[in-house]
């Protein structure tokens, strides 16, 4: 579904990503994990062309994204970020209806889809006419996820979506996301620095550090067969310092 081929990226002369190749199968819940500055978000943003790699290419659905029109590509891919990026001047319902609106769906279909998504994300109907600043953090992120799912994209990109939430809300949203992903069969690519989250949600985990891919595998494979001392340190399997962190 998504394929990174020998990606390289430098920002301001500093290498951010060096030679990363990885492949995400349809229906997979892929997690990119690693310390900050590992290049996770940069990789994610290359999928919907918010960022272009210096070297290598990204394929979505077997076609290089470079050959796909950015706006059309982005409308086919759901996008959720940590600070939600909800439109402050639009109501919850209007926020959710953004991409269907861009795709010029008929009004009735948009209304039906919005109601459906609010039910799916356990958002009370009464919230439809509220504005984002009137919601709690957890509700805001539910709207963020609903908005990303609105046009029924095959791929969902999530950049640390739950990092700003309290532990209880995060757990609830993680469980709901997992259920939605399982029942819909969507391909999810999530960036996180929270190992707990990665192990709970990911069907496949890609551990990055300093712009390199350290290891890819299922949670079980990572935990039982860490490829290097760095990996086992990051996973907390040894007493050594995890990579990328100050001693």
């Amino acid at each position: 579904m998504i394929e990174f081929q020998q990606i390289g990226l430098s920002l301001g002369g500093k290498p951010v990503i060096a030679e990363v190749s990885l492949r995400i199968a349809p229906g997979e819940f892929a997690v990119l994990i690693g310390p900050s500055g590992a290049g996770k978000s940069s990789l994610l943003r290359m999928v919907n062309r918010l960022l272009e790699p210096d070297r290598g290419q990204v394929l979505v659905g077997g076609v290089p994204v470079r050959e796909q029109e950015p706006t059309a590509l982005r409308r086919r891919i759901g996008y959720v970020i940590q600070s939600t990026g909800l439109f402050p001047h639009r109501t919850v319902a209007q926020n959710i209806a953004t991409v269907p609106g861009l795709l010029q769906w008929p009004v009735a279909r948009i209304a039906a889809r919005t109601a459906e998504l609010m039910a799916l994300l356990h958002l009370d109907e009464a919230l439809a006419e509220r504005y984002p600043h009137q919601l709690s953090g957890g509700q805001q992120q539910r709207v963020g996820v609903a908005r990303a799912l609105a046009a029924d994209p095959e791929i969902l990109l999530m950049d640390e979506p739950f990092a700003a939430l309290d532990a209880v809300t995060r757990r609830a949203l993680q469980a709901e996301l997992l259920q939605i992903q399982r029942s819909s069969g969507k391909t999810v690519l999530m960036v996180t620095h929270d190992l707990d989250e990665a192990l709970r949600l990911g069907t496949r985990i890609h551990l990055l550090d300093g712009g390199r891919l350290l290891q890819s595998g299922t949670p079980l494979e990572l935990m039982t067969r860490p490829a290097s001392p760095e990996v086992s340190a990051f996973l907390g399997l040894t007493l050594g310092d995890p990579p990328g962190r100050e001693p």
């Binding site: 918010l50 706006t71 409308r75 990026g85």
Partner: protein, 361 residues
């Protein structure tokens, strides 16, 4: 409050003169209406010290509005009685009236907020309109000046509005893109704002004068421009100067409004597949709008006031009435020019504030 009280009792409420040129003789309020109005007025002033409960505020508002209209009527009535001697006689509103009126307005503004304030303003306007239509103010010097120069006044008011429109529309057309560009481009930002700030510091009269020579030259070199109305004096340099002044508030507020759009909002807008144009019109502009309107409000109010000075270089407008009045030391003619300017400024201010409040909901 003591001031208001002194004004109510002592200072001249209206001043009467046998003709337009001689100076008038003051008549105090107690001479006009000894008990009728002074006592309720006293009570109202006391009302200011009452606890600010809703009921007291409402009573104070109604009372002050009624008092204000009553004072006006009283002045008009006195003028009508005094005018019986001769058609040349002039009765002007005196210091006593103005102070009382200001006290009333302040008390009124203090008592009402939000929608009630709007209602109070409407009620006052309606009362004023009734007094005017009923002819009870006709004999006041202000209205006599108006009656004598009805055409001139209407022309001046219309010209003033034209200057306002001819300034603000181009200022928006130029200022919005300039502000949008400044919000994105730091270099432009660093060049643009010092220039606009510099313009703002030039005294208006000096700027008008500075523009006379180059504009006259342009008109002389290209007669076509002169045919379009471009000249050293008159409307063209006035509008150009006012335009330059109004650019700063508009450009600055546009840039500030656009810069306060959160980066995450822009990122998610792009990530959802909005085109650059869609992001501007559907996301950036709506979020920037309250600040932008605040800038437009400043520009409008400022232009209403500065356009008065533009009369000095022959642009016309209400300023021409004011300067005519000043030159012939006819205070009421000055007033006839000042009051509409004041009203226009307040109206524009209230309108934009209302718009911003509506948007905030």
């Amino acid at each position: 409050m003591a001031l208001g009280l002194a004004a109510a009792l002592g200072l001249s409420f209206v001043s009467h003169a046998p003709n337009r040129l001689s100076s008038g003789q003051g008549i105090a309020l107690i001479e006009l209406a000894p008990a009728l109005l002074t006592w309720p007025a006293l009570l109202l002033l006391l009302g200011l010290f009452m606890p600010p409960t809703r009921r007291w505020q409402l009573a104070s508002a109604v009372g002050n509005a009624a008092l204000l209209l009553g004072l006006l009527w009283l002045a008009g009535d006195a003028a009508a009685r005094l005018a019986q001697d001769s058609a040349l006689a002039r009765t002007s509103l005196g210091a006593g009236f103005w102070i009382l009126a200001v006290v009333c307005l302040l008390a009124l503004a203090d008592a009402v907020q939000g929608w009630v304030a709007l209602l109070a303003a409407l009620a006052l306007s309606l009362g004023l309109a009734l007094l005017l239509a009923g002819g009870s103010l006709d004999q006041l010097a202000l209205m006599r000046e108006y009656a004598n120069r009805r055409e001139l006044f209407h022309d001046a008011l219309w010209q003033h509005l034209q200057i306002l429109l001819a300034t603000l529309l181009p200022a928006l057309v130029i200022g919005l893109p300039l502000g949008a560009a400044a919000a994105r481009n730091g270099h432009l930002n660093q060049v643009l704002f010092p220039v606009l700030n510099l313009i703002q510091t030039i005294p208006s009269l000096a700027l008008f004068a500075l523009l006379i020579a180059p504009m006259a030259l342009l008109a002389a070199v290209w007669p076509l421009l002169a045919d379009w109305g471009l000249a050293g004096i008159g409307l063209a340099p006035a509008v150009l100067a006012l335009l330059l002044y109004s650019l700063l508030p508009i450009v600055r507020s546009t840039a500030a409004g656009l810069q306060q759009v959160p980066a995450a909002v822009l990122d998610s807008a792009r990530g959802m597949g909005m085109t650059g144009r869609q992001i501007f019109w559907r996301v950036e502009l709506p979020i920037a709008l309250p600040l932008l309107l605040a800038g437009l409000r400043v520009a409008t109010v400022q232009t209403v006031g500065l356009a008065v000075v533009a009369a000095l270089i022959g642009a016309g407008g209400l300023g021409s009435l004011i300067f005519q009045g000043l030159l012939s030391s006819a205070a009421d003619l000055v007033l006839l020019g000042v009051l509409p300017v004041l009203a226009l400024g307040l109206l524009a201010d209230a309108m934009f504030k209302g718009l911003v409040r509506m948007l905030a909901q």
